[in-house]
Subunit: 388 residues, 2 copies
């Protein structure tokens, strides 16, 4: 097994499931888990500012190496003092490796053993990502949590192709971890007497692939468990598989990972998906869903989904969610939000996004408290009841 | 002349021009003039919230009777406690009468002596505005400053048609003022010992038309000066005429208006236009320009216009305006704003709009101070130099 210390402190475990709550320490502070990370795809969470994100209690954002590499460019970001300084965010940032975006956005990608050739979705210009170059890009971005370049295949691919892709992903993770060691000074993580950690540099997460096949997931997890990484991403899910398939893939992965490192399931999700994964031992989540549906007039509330376009809200003096503590719910009526949406006002995107992210982050706060006091199962049941 | 008291206190007059500074009192507080009023067309200043508007120092918003009448509907607004409660804005609101929107947006309008038939630009449904019904709509909206229904004609119209339109506008102003008296309790304005006013109800402004013809403007101004209104709108400008034509129309209007009532030039504008009008005795302004150009990446700064799309800003660590006190300028670089704009992020619209409105409101603050200390001409020259 790896000798690398992970700056992750587990505070409590749920007795009836694999759920746990803890703190991941980064060079920008603490990330309490389970955590929901809003997605700042292009150095910005859509319609919001970092002031809004501080307000809703975000502790870690996700940003995209692929997008930032193309625009404003990693060299530009380096000159401008890194992503934190660029967007004025002073808490943690995780960057994904670009593997997913190269898969989903780029035309004519070509995977070799060395890396991936791809064409920019902006202008068709040709680019190359290698496991090492992605680490260099993440270093230029200055994110707190880096991820290794991986190969993503659609779940519908032949198993032989998935196996081949996994072999490449494994090889690339080894190369990324080796490159990380080259550029990051040793002993940049120190454990303090109280169990907390002082973290002097960015940390590295490996990405576990394997599609919906338990045997591939197990193989990938066992391999990644042996690598010098500080945490694990579970990739290749939330791409159209059923909830059952996702659960099976997670169950085939988690038992093979060391307890003491955080696990992040990429691209989730809805309250139900997140709670199912927390129960199975996942600690970290990100998703564009709460901001994307917000721009379509959909809110997540303590009573379930609310579609602000619904005529029933046109004269409603109720807040979006009477149990929510966010200023949008404290200040505005459904009637006003409904009007703004109908009138095509951009302000409606911002207001519903603030609420939706606050809702998910507050749900995580409740989950953490429930794990601490032994009521996670009960809370999970209560929330899922509203989102069935 | 009218016996109506206008709740307007003039604090100082410029010695070298007709510029003056004062306070217009409304039932929601003070509006210090010269004032720039951001435009909340549909109960929302585009991309902003009322928190942003308080932040930039807005004291009065403009909203549109035509738009609010169609959506959410004036009956709905009445049920929801009026526009202030609906949008959570607790300072002043002026509503225009809808005359301009019926002219510019509606299909197949038909003007009779009674009022205007028009078709909604949303769904083609047929509606009727009369001088009385517009006052009723404004009462339902609950705005602080109401305006009379007018007839707007393009400047290119035959003078005979403009004269006919003006005759109708004059007649309608009389009917609006009469209807206002019917529904508003008398003596709702009291002057206090210190010269300030206590205002218990919405007040009424008449709209002066007359296109770019000095003789028509004079006729319209003299007529409106005799009406029981608390202030004057100068309408029909900022619709494509030259700066010289606008100045001439204003010069033909102002001398025929009583000193003690505020004058509002509808739909201006750019810093140059506003300063030219202040010099000629105008007190109030509104325009969608600062928010519209913001959404196109254009900022107004103390050094003149800045187009954030310009490549020169891509790596610039300068703020949008180094002399601006707004939080956008204190927090973000041009590089970041430029990136957000290129990336198509909605956040860029909000951030540049906040700056642009703050810039205009701060310019008005400087104008008021300059009128008080006798340096208005100098300030005007200095600002216009940057915007030639």
């Amino acid at each position: 097994m790896t000798k690398l210390i992970s700056p992750f402190k587990i505070l409590a475990r749920d007795e009836n499931s694999k759920a746990r709550t803890g703190i991941l320490y980064t060079k920008h502070g603490m990330v309490r888990t389970p955590v929901f990370m809003p997605v700042a795809t292009q150095a910005c969470v859509k319609a919001l500012t970092e002031e809004d994100l501080n307000y809703v209690g975000a502790e870690c954002l996700l940003s995209n190496t692929y997008h930032l590499y193309l625009r404003p460019g990693t060299e530009a970001l380096k000159k401008l003092g890194g992503l934190h300084n660029f967007m004025r965010w002073n808490k943690s940032i995780l960057t994904d490796s670009g593997g997913f975006q190269v898969h989903s956005l780029s035309h004519l990608r070509k995977i070799t053993e060395d890396g991936i050739w791809f064409k920019s979705h902006h202008d068709g210009s040709k680019h190359f990502f290698s496991p090492e170059s992605v680490i260099e890009s993440e270093a230029a971005i200055g994110s707190d949590i880096w991820t290794c370049l991986d190969v993503l295949m659609p779940n519908s691919a032949h198993k032989a192709d998935l196996r081949r892709a996994l072999a490449t992903t494994k090889l690339w993770a080894e190369r990324a971890a080796a490159h990380y060691k080259k550029i990051v000074p040793e002993q940049n993580i120190q454990q303090n007497e109280d169990g907390s950690f002082s973290v002097g540099h960015s940390i590295l997460f490996g990405i576990i692939q394997g599609s919906i096949y338990p045997d591939l997931r197990e193989e990938a997890a066992k391999h990644m468990a042996r690598q010098d990484v500080h945490g694990f991403c579970i990739g290749g899910l939330s791409v159209g598989e059923t909830l059952q398939e996702m659960n099976t893939a997670v169950e085939a992965t988690i038992p093979h990972l060391p307890e003491g490192k955080p696990r992040y399931l990429m691209g989730l999700g809805t309250p139900i998906e997140i709670l199912e994964c927390i129960e199975r031992g996942v600690d970290m989540f990100d998703c564009v869903w709460p901001t994307r549906v917000a721009r379509n007039g959909q809110a997540m509330t303590s009573e379930g989904k609310v579609n602000i376009k619904n005529n029933a809200h046109r004269l409603s003096e109720e807040p979006l969610d009477k149990n929510c503590d966010c200023w949008v719910c404290k200040r505005y009526t459904r009637a006003y939000l409904s009007h703004l949406y109908r009138a095509g006002e951009l302000t409606s995107h911002r207001l519903i996004s603030i609420h939706n992210i606050r809702f998910l982050i507050k749900t995580m706060e409740r989950v953490r408290a429930a794990i601490l006091d032994g009521t996670f199962r009960q809370l999970k049941k209560e929330i899922i009841e509203k989102y069935k």
